[in-house]
Symmetry: C2
Amino acid sequence: MRYFIEFAYDGAPYFGYQVQPNQISVQETLEKALSTLLREPIKTTGAGRTDTGVHAKKIFAHFDFEGELMDNLVHRLNSFLPESIAVKRIFEVKSEAHARFSATYRTYNYFISTEKDPFTKDLAWQLWRKKLDVDAMNEACKILFEYSDFTSFAKLHTDNKTNICKIYQANWEQNGSLLKFTVSADRFLRNMVRAIVGTMIEVGDGKLKPEDMHRVITEQHRNSAGTSAPAHGLFLVDVGYDFLD
Amino acid sequence: MRYFIEFAYDGAPYFGYQVQPNQISVQETLEKALSTLLREPIKTTGAGRTDTGVHAKKIFAHFDFEGELMDNLVHRLNSFLPESIAVKRIFEVKSEAHARFSATYRTYNYFISTEKDPFTKDLAWQLWRKKLDVDAMNEACKILFEYSDFTSFAKLHTDNKTNICKIYQANWEQNGSLLKFTVSADRFLRNMVRAIVGTMIEVGDGKLKPEDMHRVITEQHRNSAGTSAPAHGLFLVDVGYDFLD
């Protein structure tokens, strides 16, 4: 039987989502907990592979297991796992459902603190020294929808076959002292959201004009875009599947 | 001239508010920043003396300074101070205004996470393993108003002349997965809020009945109350002065 597991994690203590030799990853920590409680080696496939320090508020993984799941497995997993990983639910899916390839969209948030705030320092980029023009940043967002090749926002030397993505949503919203970027797409390239945010900050800061986004994107080179925003402000917040509401 | 400084801090990196020999305190960190920017030794008097690990969202201190304050002092202080301390404003007050003795009330919040949440682990007590009866805890709150001697919630062997406090507000409120305790009083004894929260959790958990609060309080002994709740869930959130709105 195939199961989906929905969970959340604080990325700070991990060297990214995916299993890495000699480093602690979210995936390894989760698989160790599942294997211990289900008493057989469990391999998981995650919906995405977040980088070191990136968080997830809602992410899924799938695993196969033929035995019977105990009723209180979610509670027992949460007791076993460290405070930085929380399991929300585990449910059976069709055998062809795939956490990564069946996903129809992914949504990320990036948080920026526009006032100095000791309580968001680990979960938002502290940019209170800058005065950001949020309207200009939202103008820049609109330009993203006109393109599909995002090579300029892709990490160099990755093994992606294509840098084509379909962006469904992109906007900035100010809530109190938190400035939130929401971006949805069918897929994301490695480092893409952080590169977009870094470039948008240059727009907000006046270094770039919103219409410079055309040039940044069409040049199709990472050097055309801004520096990557730091990992600790980035959250994977949703993954969509046709078979889930 | 006397000035009030309003600020906030994450208590995690500090050995409490007050200057301690050989330990880093909030007060020492603040005084060092003020003294550097104002180019003379500045001593501050805080509105309260929070314990190690306790946070403040809104606290005041006063200091005396005869020179002229630079316009951008708040911004420069925030640049100088670590991420864990944020200065909100600095304003002149009458020379007899005293951050500690002029305060008419103080308000604390205590946060409890009733679902496992990686993102509140440093700012709320993670009690998702327990099923808490919030109605019973609110019943217990009402009993606090009937008393004024809170010796049972006071740390033993302190040099308090009196353990008499007037409680103005006390209630529990569930917002999503966060359970928030709000308590206001004219003054608080050392460790008092954490001892009240620890006792209330025993009520929520069914170990005590709400009406047991009468006995806990009238026995006037710390052993009658529950264990102290951990420091990281506690926030000083307001201090009232007649001359501020």
